[in-house]
Symmetry: C2
Subunit: 461 residues, 2 copies
């Protein structure tokens, strides 16, 4: 492959200024929101499905690896270039292609900002439920590639649950339309959900038809604090076992709480607060008092120090701000944050947090855990110093032990971040050789020359 | 392949009496709920995953085609034997393997009766939402194979939306465990949803981990009649465009209404009633009056003759009984019922019904339509006489025109029945050659010797 022959071909297919290889552009696109970087050979900005198809066809001819990119907000290196690769950024493909309020469906291009979808349909009393933390800037194509979740998944589910149909370009440069424009459909194998979560390794998604829901008209938010994590986990279990599914149920462990307090938030907590739960309920206004009462009752119990309802919008915003600040706050606490995203059944959450506590003590590591407790989905952050070889070795041991604990507890290695390049070495802990062999064969069907996002998702052979 | 060598091998793997080749057993298992039949060479009744694995291994060695069977209640010949095949009936695999009320998950064997799942968890205030019409006797394995829907899909979704993980045996005799035991998980390609709806052509599902929901504590049912189908469709649109998603929204066209009346039901309808809607809402008791009011307002409009709320359980049961009697009633109306199951966006439902009316007139056919209007999913029944060659030819023309109309209206050929053997000739109308070529390649990965449910789902090459 010679870049000097590919670039003119690509410039002929796209406008010249949308095939960039200047140092500044390459530097910007050399990383996503994961530690590490790699300078790509070029960055491409297609405007349309047809241009994506042209890119893949040319790339295939020249065996040029393509790294698809939404906003670059992923945590597992899914959009990180590999040596000799071209980044395909979807940021110029933001069109709303079709929208029907009555059918509650919308078709958007892959570069559409996720939050823009809900904003677009809000006037009709609709919304697009999945809202990963990066919602205000992440793009739907990235969400589809990683099957993004978010705090509201506990009630509303994840990206996969809202995808009706896709338009995509496979690694052979062929157009693949899959799925339907209707709320039901069972014709053929479910290629739609095969592409969702495939991290850009099977096809480049260019358009998606998504399902919308009626926007809940009211909500309420409660904050509860506990003397220890075990008692907070017991409360999570009680909340999830009662009748009203909360629209969010977030947990902060003592170290997350300390991080939040260090930033000046949550200063009003009672003495001895070592774990915090945030619970949101939503629905028709008439249902809220009942829901709040049921949640309050479930939150009360051993070790409960305080249960507070946020009564105005500002108080709710403060609570969420504290929760959302955790990701940047923990990032600032050490030179490197190893950000895991494990899930266990809600009934095993206490055991998971005990295991994490044990790992932190045994390996002398600073581990901060918080996340979507209603899904049993914890963000476990190892705060480390890459210069400290000994600590890094302990962190690697700790990670291995964390994953073992998660799998022993009937859990999974990732709830919403995905595998990308960071976690691929650990995939064989969870998936059997039979499953991996099928997945590799599927990869070869869609992308026989392995040009689509190489080095991601599937472990090295 | 010689049956006389296979049967002893299978009898050694299973108990002898669970490998049947007596004429009576073969006759019983020669058909499902689809016109036509074919005598299999044997019927197998495995008791466990390991026995299914033994069956597939032996079958593969001898190139014996295997036809998996739940209750045999499918409408597209999915469980119909092909010449020389063995039926694998899952009826002896009904165990509940695992259940956690707090995690709202249940793991069941494939032969578990679908309604038995909800019955099992009801005491904990939970239920398993998908409820195809055959709910009281169909088996979860069949539901998974076909991605079954049902009247409540409009609010609760279909089988696919409730599957967390699967255990299965591929065509190579290998065990494949896919998915998770948690409410979230994104590790690897989504093989779980690839198997759901694959109609037993990729693997035999032996166990499934399913998601449960809190049981709604109250519901209400309304019946509305209209002077014509177009006005009923307009009402469907209005219902689906307002804030409260109904838990069911069923439509009967004039011919379905006549069939119901001929059975002695719905005798109290006002003069001139030519289309009927049944709407159910559910949720917390406190929400019901608001929901009923909103639905009533949406149902009212041009051509609305009467809107009635069923105020007691008996009245509701009567309404549902009338709706559920439609399938057997139409079957009794002619020697052959060709039962289609098309879907269009709700906004195009009126056009679909006009197209059906046009086809019936043009081809002089008796077509009865009813079904899940809230999903735009109509059961279109051609009532014909197989002896009448001319009528059968007109029916084939009519079917072709129906499918063309559906696809022109942005629809899909099947919403919940699947493809099986009956519809496979029509699949290329909807799926592109690229999509079919990928699907065939996937089939070869899972089942290289094509022993799993041959002649189903994928069109002939």
């Amino acid at each position: 492959m010679s870049i000097s022959t590919i670039i003119p071909a690509l410039r002929a297919a796209l406008d010249a200024e949308r095939v960039r290889d200047d140092a500044e552009t390459l530097a910007i696109y050399s990383r996503d929101d994961t530690p590490g970087s790699c300078i790509p050979v070029m960055v491409l900005f297609p405007h349309s499905h047809e241009e994506v198809q042209a890119i893949v066809s040319i790339a295939r001819r020249h065996r040029l690896p393509l790294v698809p990119r939404g906003a670059g907000s992923g945590n597992v290196g899914g959009a990180q270039p590999v040596p000799g690769s071209a980044v395909v950024s979807f940021e110029c493909m933001q069109k709303i292609c079709d929208y029907s309020a009555v059918d509650r469906t919308i078709t958007v291009e892959a570069g559409c900002v996720t939050a823009a979808i809900s904003a677009y349909v809000q006037a009709d009393g609709l919304f697009y439920p999945p809202d990963p933390g990066s919602n205000p800037y992440c793009r739907i194509g990235g969400n589809l590639a990683m099957n993004a979740g978010g705090p509201h998944a506990v009630k509303y589910g994840v990206t996969r649950d809202y995808v009706l149909g896709l338009r995509a370009v496979t690694g052979t440069g062929e157009t693949l339309c899959c799925g339907v424009h209707t709320s039901k459909g069972v014709v053929g194998y479910d290629l739609t959900r095969l592409l969702v979560g495939s991290e850009g390794t099977l096809a480049l998604i260019t358009e998606a038809t998504l399902r919308l829901l009626p926007l809940p008209s009211a909500q309420a938010t409660l904050r509860a604090v506990y003397d220890n994590t075990a008692n907070a986990c017991a409360a999570v279990q009680r909340v999830m076992a009662q009748h009203h599914t909360p629209s969010a149920l977030e947990l902060m462990d003592p170290y997350a709480l300390a991080a939040v307090r260090a930033m000046g938030a949550a200063r009003d907590l009672p003495e001895g607060s070592n774990a915090l739960l945030m619970v949101e309920v939503d629905g028709e206004a008439i249902t809220i008092p009942d829901q709040v009462q049921a949640i309050r009752a479930a939150l009360a119990g051993e070790g409960s120090l305080e249960i507070l309802e946020a009564t105005d919008a500002a108080a709710v915003a403060d609570l969420w701000a504290a929760r959302k600040s955790l990701s940047p706050a923990t990032k600032a606490m050490a030179p490197l944050k190893i950000n895991e995203d494990v899930v266990v059944p809600v009934s095993r959450l206490r055991e998971l947090l005990e295991a994490i506590e044990g790992i932190a003590a045994e390996q002398s590591l600073h581990i901060v855990s918080f996340g979507h407790a209603g899904n049993g989905n914890l963000h476990v952050n190892f705060l480390v110093h890459p210069q400290d070889g000994n600590e890094m070795r302990r962190a690697r041991h700790g990670l291995q032990k964390l994953f073992q604990a998660v799998l022993t507890l009937d859990g999974t290695l990732s709830g919403e971040h995905g595998i990308g390049s960071s976690k691929r070495a650990y995939v064989p802990l969870e998936l059997s050789p039979e499953s991996l062999s099928i997945q590799r064969a599927i990869k070869r069907i869609f992308d026989p020359d392995a040009i689509l996002n190489p080095g991601k998702l599937l472990p090295e052979t």
